[in-house]
């Protein structure tokens, strides 16, 4: 299976796969949605019918080959169908982040030259209407949910029901049209355009071909033996490449069923009801679950707490080995089975993890404690390393060969190399075609031989596993010459449940320093148990008791860093707890919740200055943007604390 392309034969596009699946798996469920409290399912034959009608509807509304279709909303069957419908017509679907504000949407709509949009509800329709006059190409908005829409009398705002109706009429007049239309597409056509949120600059439209997605999805499915019997819960944004692979491409390739949650607030209970076998979540979701479990266990009865503490402790010693199929003594296996019956089983059931065959996490480093917690109770969490430009999979962990601090070995068909400056480059079947209308960026990212620069710095460990340290451009040096990898330090900080976000500074400075965001839930709970009253995030963050708590965490990180030869000089000397949570609405985080360093540095310049001067307190005022676009300010006096810098022998030796 090395660099060679596996044959995907004549079934080389999603519309063709749809016809194939309707034939192969006709009666098997394809997609589910919880509506009015009941899970409604559509089998592959139903889905074929729906998509054919939708495609015919789009056609009769004037959608042409080569047009782009914007798709905005939560994960809904109809929106997934819209992707296939557009693909069948030779158009390009452009799923967009549903929580983006109108201005952000305008950029993508305009840049992608979207002429049609299918949106979920009134909220999204309003956003599109707001920017419509600035997007001259956009000529039709189709909404799925008609609530509140009865007074929209614009001729170009129409309901999905009426589009489907038009489609039925078109199909009745043109039997066999849909099947004929699907045959016009080929594997090298552009299947989708995904806008990367981008930690710097404007988003770029990544064009992926059917070959990119289908071959990558197939390779991934073979890697983990996915079959039509697997189950997935589609709850991550449709605009994100991961959702496109896990909930769309792999479903088409393997034929498994995708379930759409009732609403974004019900994901946890939907997870429990569906019991997926294949799951993806960014590290922060696993972190949150562990935090929740820990908090709830503190409220449990004495006997439950003891059982939990004993068996989780025991699981950490043998659980991962059992999962990896390594030899474990008979006695330990018996005890583990008892633990499974008393603790792990019920806990997994409560979390909706009972049927997990495999779960992936990616995007950020995951804390070893969190990783081990899930693996020890038999949840097969693995890491992967991917990007939109690779159609996700670059590196993946194999069953039985899983480590908490690496991202695994190259995925099927993917070649990797480490450049001289430490940057990771890859080449493979999922390598994107180009950035839309941005040849310059394409040339900067992808060379003539197809190697793509990831922008991440990393290295291979002794077993050939890739280890990522940071964004290559973020790795800097302190004035004393020590390497400074901010993400590495931030991740170590974020492994503490009390810290939800951190931003480290130090490049071309005398010492390293950090901004910290506390986790409101974990610290709030901690405070309640100590009888500390607080009114909200800002109040809690300013408490000296909380500062003491966080100082302990920072000191531990420093002690940890002191053990590392290369990084011991970059221990955190001073830190502060930010008076507000970093937020995507304020542009401080990307929509996938990664820190935008430059924005943060610009906004909080005075706080950075305070970190590098002797002051203990710095008064600040920050502008905040609410989800509805209103603006407000938060005022606070931010305190700055010193942390203990461990003068390890190595550190002294360097000097």
């Amino acid at each position: 299976m090395s660099g060679e392309k596996p044959a995907i034969g004549s079934v080389d596009t999603f519309p063709k796969l749809l016809l194939e699946n309707a034939r192969r798996y006709g009666e098997r469920p394809s997609i589910r949605e919880k509506d009015l409290g009941i899970w409604q399912a559509w089998n592959w034959s139903d889905v074929k019918g729906e998509i054919a009608e939708m495609a015919a509807g789009l056609k009769s509304y004037g959608f042409e080959r080569g047009d782009s279709l914007a798709i905005v909303g939560d994960n809904r069957p109809q929106l997934y169908w819209a992707m296939t419908a557009a693909q069948a017509l030779g158009g390009t679907p452009v799923p967009m982040y549903q929580d983006a504000v109108a201005d952000e949407m305008q950029y993508v709509l305009e840049h992608a030259e979207a002429c049609f949009a299918i949106v979920e509800d009134q909220e999204q329709t309003d956003k599109l209407l707001e920017v419509m006059d600035k997007c001259p190409k956009l000529k039709e908005i189709v909404f799925k949910d008609s609530r509140g829409m009865r007074h929209y009398d614009q001729s170009y705002v129409r309901s999905l029901d009426s589009l489907m109706e038009a489609g039925r009429k078109y199909l009745a007049d043109n039997p066999g049209w849909f099947e004929a239309e699907t045959q016009k597409g080929v594997g090298t056509d552009i299947a989708i355009m995904l806008y990367t949120s981008g930690t710097t600059g404007r988003p770029k439209g990544v064009m992926l071909s059917f070959d990119n997605l289908i071959i990558t999805a197939k390779n991934g499915a073979e890697w983990d033996d996915l079959t039509e019997k697997d189950e997935v819960l589609a709850y991550l944004p449709m605009a994100w490449v991961g959702d496109n692979i896990f909930s769309y491409s792999q479903s088409y390739v393997s034929g498994f069923c995708v379930s759409c949650p009732e609403s974004s607030d019900t994901v946890t209970s939907d997870l429990k009801e569906i019991g997926p076998t294949y799951f993806f979540a960014p590290p922060r979701v696993f972190e949150n679950i562990l935090t929740q479990v820990s908090i709830r266990m503190e409220d449990a009865s004495w006997i439950n707490r003891k059982l939990y503490a004993y068996f989780m402790d025991f699981a950490l010693s043998v659980g991962p080995d059992i999962l990896d199929g390594k030899p474990v003594s008979f006695g330990d296996r018996i005890l583990y089975a008892i633990g499974e019956f008393l603790v792990y089983g019920p806990l997994k059931n409560e979390l909706g993890f009972s049927r997990f065959r495999l779960a992936y996490t990616a995007g950020e480093a995951i804390g070893p404690d969190i990783f081990d917690f899930f693996r020890s109770m038999g949840v097969n969490v693995k890491q992967l390393y991917g990007s939109t430009e690779a159609s996700v999979f670059i590196c993946m962990q194999k069953n039985g060969d899983v480590k908490p601090d690496t991202v695994g070995v190259p995925a099927t068909g993917v070649e990797l190399r480490i450049a001289d400056d430490g940057e990771v480059h890859f080449r493979g079947p999922g390598t994107f075609v180009a950035y839309f209308k941005n040849d310059e960026a394409t040339r900067e990212t992808k060379d003539d031989e197809g190697w793509v620069m990831t922008g991440d710095a990393g290295f291979f460990d002794a077993d050939g596993h890739l280890k990522i340290i940071d964004r290559a451009k973020d790795v800097g040096k302190l004035n004393n010459g020590t390497m400074f990898a901010p993400k590495y330090i931030e991740n170590k900080l974020k492994f503490f449940p009390f810290i939800t976000e951190a931003v480290a500074f130090g490049n071309e400075r005398d010492y390293a320093a950090a901004f910290i965001n506390i986790d409101l839930e974990a610290v709030g709970n901690w405070a309640e148990r100590r009888g500390l009253a607080y009114s909200g995030y800002t109040d809690l963050a300013m408490r000296s008791e909380v500062y003491d708590l966080i100082t302990d965490c920072v000191n531990k990180v420093n002690a940890d860093l002191a053990d590392d030869d290369a990084l011991s000089g970059s221990q955190i000397s001073r830190f502060l707890i930010l008076h507000k949570l970093l937020d995507a609405d304020d542009g401080e985080l990307t929509r996938t919740r990664k820190v935008r360093r430059n924005t943060v540095a610009d906004r909080y310049g005075e706080l950075i200055d305070a970190l590098y001067s002797g002051v203990d307190v710095c008064p600040v005022e920050a502008a905040v943007t609410f989800e509805d676009g209103r603006k407000g300010t938060i005022k606070a006096d931010v305190k700055i604390r010193e942390a203990i810098v461990v003068n390890s022998q190595q550190a002294q030796a360097v000097e």
């Binding site: 509506d35 009015l36 409290g37 609530r147 009865r150 007074h151 607030d265 019900t266 209970s269």
Partner: protein, 267 residues
């Protein structure tokens, strides 16, 4: 609102109502009428008789004098259960939910007047009773969907935050599919965001289901924004009655109410 709503004929008219508790005159000689599809507000300072007025309309209090005409039926004394059956539903100033029951069950109680199978059938939950329950459940689920409270469907309401409890209470009233919805301070004690949500829901109910709404509210901003007409009470007497603009410029109202409760007016 950019569009024109269709305001129908009179659905409720209150004619010269007087209510006294012993020597205390809660309402004296109040008359007004509410048209179909209207959002109608009753405002006034504390003790002006607003809640008493609602209580008269849904039959909880029996006025000594005057009549109330609802959908053409003129009456003085009516039992609350009759009022409910005729299509009047309400929420309360101090939330009156069953705290130990889930959101779903609470809203289901709103269907009570529409359940026809007797208690034995319901207890057996079999055959026709089961079919009936399924039909009611569907209505309840539509309400849950409408109010976007799917996530708390199975949560006991006593554990919910105040704003959500208010929403559940509205849900219970909606489950009765009323023609006239009485809301007693639906936004009291809410923060700005919760108020905005509640306004949205009230307008949506009015718009989607054509429900006539009579509400009591202290937040002047809200009242003036969402009401078609307003009646102002003060010490049990009617001061004024008209569109928000008319009421705002009425000198008696300014003197007696808006002028005094200056803080409220600024909100």
């Amino acid at each position: 609102m950019a569009y024109e709503r269709k305001i129908g004929d009179t659905i409720l008219s209150v004619d010269q109502i007087s209510l006294a508790f012993g020597g205390v005159k809660a309402l004296s000689n109040i008359s007004f009428s509410v048209n179909q599809h209207e959002v109608f507000a009753i405002i006034g300072p504390n003790g002006a008789g607003k809640s008493s007025m609602l209580n008269c309309i849904n039959g909880f209090y029996h006025p000594q004098e005057g009549t109330i005409t609802f959908k053409g039926n003129t009456r003085r004394h009516v039992r609350p259960s009759e009022a409910a059956r005729e299509g009047i539903a309400r929420t309360f100033q101090n939330i009156a939910l069953f705290k130990g029951m889930t959101t779903l069950d609470n809203i289901m109680t709103g269907r009570n007047t529409k359940m026809h199978k007797n208690i034995f059938w319901q207890a057996l939950r079999f055959g026709p009773a089961e079919k009936e329950e399924m039909e009611h459940r569907e209505v309840v689920e539509r309400v849950i969907d409408f109010l976007e409270i799917e996530a708390i469907r199975k949560t006991p309401v006593g554990t919910l935050p105040y704003g959500l409890q208010k929403r559940v209470e509205l849900g219970r009233a909606l489950a009765a599919e009323p023609d006239l919805l009485l809301l007693d301070e639906p936004m009291a004690g809410m923060n700005l965001e919760e108020k905005q949500d509640m306004c949205r829901f009230i307008l949506d109910v009015n718009d989607e289901f054509g429900t006539t709404i009579v509400l009591i509210e202290h937040d002047m901003g809200v009242v003036m924004d969402i009401s078609d007409r307003v009646v102002v009470l003060d010490y049990g007497k009617k001061l004024a009655d008209g569109t928000p603009d008319e009421v705002r410029s009425n000198q008696a109202v300014i003197d007696a109410y808006l002028g005094v409760a200056h803080d409220d007016a600024e909100e």
